[in-house]
């Protein structure tokens, strides 16, 4: 999928990685990540957003860059929605990220990425608790849009990290449900005596449910269970070893990649998604070992990402209150 390399270049990169001690072109150890930079709140018209780069030198470009933003829409449960809300993810790739691909190939690529991200994140087990507005009537549809602005390898991990950051940043507006009921007097207009307490009364209670927005100083409350949004880790397999965070060249020289998405919550760790990318065969032992190692790496990513996200929360809230105080 990435750039094309000659056989000689591929074997050179592979030999470097498998060698003892291992050598990578940028001098990293096998399980080192490039620098990851993250900023939340980058799209002012969205409910939550994040920009994430892997391996970008300051003002120098050359890394993987992903932009993620969420937008909430009100949806009628009876028409198209699901009671309790739903999440739809979509990935678009800027042609600038893949300048060598034709538009057809680009479309296929973004479809693949959309499938992986959407199937993992829209699963009911991860659905936030506060996407419902009026039970059985109205709910929020959360659209998560990811844009790949440039790809210098390891785009899947970047996508999941950016998605997690944008979802973490998402604020759901507070709503008040309002219910209108027809007055009881109208119902016995015929002058008949009606016992209101009767359990056998099967006539429909005419009621309409709607909602209003709470007038409050902030934009709303964060998504419920936001700790649980998964992080992914891609193990690049060159038997007998694996390494992390491949650059574009290394990706092209690696026959097989094992992508895993882990969700960490107080109740325990769960594997939310797994893909084998590339062609080749994989024995069960490698997969088993891979999951064990993957969980370890994912936990490190999760801890680091959480620290950064909390940092961003503080930065933005303090900045906001400082600005407000200066008015």
């Amino acid at each position: 999928m990435a750039i094309s390399l000659s056989k000689a270049e591929k074997s050179y990169i592979q030999a470097g990685i498998v060698g003892d001690p291992p050598h990578r072109s940028d001098g990293r150890a096998l399980h080192d990540f490039r620098t990851v930079a993250l900023e939340t709140g980058v799209a002012p018209l969205s409910n939550g957003s994040a920009r994430l780069t892997i391996g970008t030198v300051l003002r120098g470009g050359g890394g993987t860059e992903v932009l993620a933003a969420t937008k909430l829409e009100v949806e009628d449960v009876k028409v198209s929605g699901v009671d309790g809300g739903r999440i739809v993810c979509s990935v678009t790739c800027s042609p600038a990220a893949y300048p060598h691909l034709s538009s057809g190939a680009l479309e296929d690529l973004q479809y693949d990425m959309t499938t992986i991200v959407d199937q993992t994140l829209s699963h009911p087990s991860l659905r936030p608790s506060n996407l419902s507005i009026v039970k059985g009537q109205k709910s929020w549809l959360l659209n998560l849009d990811l844009v790949v602005l440039s790809d210098a390898g390891n785009v899947h991990d970047a996508l999941f990290m950016a998605a997690r950051a944008a979802l973490w940043d998402t604020k759901v507006p507070r709503t008040l449900s309002i219910e209108y009921k027809a007055a009881a007097a109208n119902r016995n207009a015929g002058g008949m005596e009606i016992d209101d307490a009767s359990g056998l009364d099967t006539r429909q209670q005419p009621s309409i449910a709607d909602f209003g927005l709470h007038d409050f100083w902030d934009e709303g409350e964060p998504l419920g269970g936001r700790e649980a949004w998964p992080v992914s880790v891609t193990l690049n397999l060159i038997s007998p070893i694996h390494y992390l965070d491949a650059s574009a060249q290394e990706e092209a020289a690696t026959p097989l990649r094992l992508l895993q998405a882990f969700s960490f919550s107080p109740s325990g760790t769960s594997l939310q998604g797994m893909r084998v990318l590339g062609v080749g065969e994989l024995d069960a032992k490698t997969v088993k070992q891979g999951i064990e190692d993957g969980e370890k790496y994912a936990r490190e990513i999760y801890t680091a990402l959480n620290a950064k996200l909390k940092d961003e929360d503080v930065r933005r809230n303090q900045k906001a209150s400082y600005r407000f105080a200066r008015r």
Partner: protein, 258 residues
Amino acid sequence: MGSRVEILNEGGFRSDGRRQYELREVTIDLSQQGQADGAAVITHGLTRVMVSVFGPREAKSRSQTIHDRANINVEVAISPFSAGERRKRSRGDKRILEMAATIKSTFEPVVQTTLYPRSQIDVFVQVLQQDGGVLQACINATTLALVNAGIPLLDFVCAVSGGVYSTSPMLDLSLLEENDLPNLTVAVMPKTGKFTLATMETRLHVDRFEDIFKLVCSASQALHQEMKDAVRVRTTSLVTAMGTIQSNVGGDMMMDES
């Protein structure tokens, strides 16, 4: 609708606090983006556009080559979260194709395509935020990205939008104003004073056209200065960086000799 927003109040201020002929704040970022040969991010107020330029290079398909000049290929993508209402436009969307065609025809007379026969210049436009004046932002960012990529141009192309409220002309409309007022976008080559684009999607009284048009042309001079300064800062920083590398290399060689 009692609480209707006033486009231009009695004090001569617009809804966002600007004066009639005031442009929104422009910021230009010419730093490297990904693998692009030249890139630019421009913001006009809350409108934000990123353009990456690749080329001149060999065309992906043979059919796209022209035997005596370079082909300019423009692709526009609008981020679904860039507007107030989420809307996902696919690559084949008519609106997007039209915008790409407009940008292409704006730059065809300016880029010296005859210098690169049988090659292709790719211009990828990514709209990140929209608040009125998307086309002008796209054109200005494309100019800067082309300059940044070192592609020979006859002149800068500076685009500004203008509209008219009752009888008073206004510059650089925001989305709110754009929805309510007749408006046009003009792309000017500031040195020669020629223009390569004048487009309008609304109806405008003939008598008002000249006023706005002249106003927009003079506004483009101000924008030209802004863009020129940004390019100068970027080039100076590159030259300085190259200077340090060269003097380092020179120093090493001196050491070797001694």
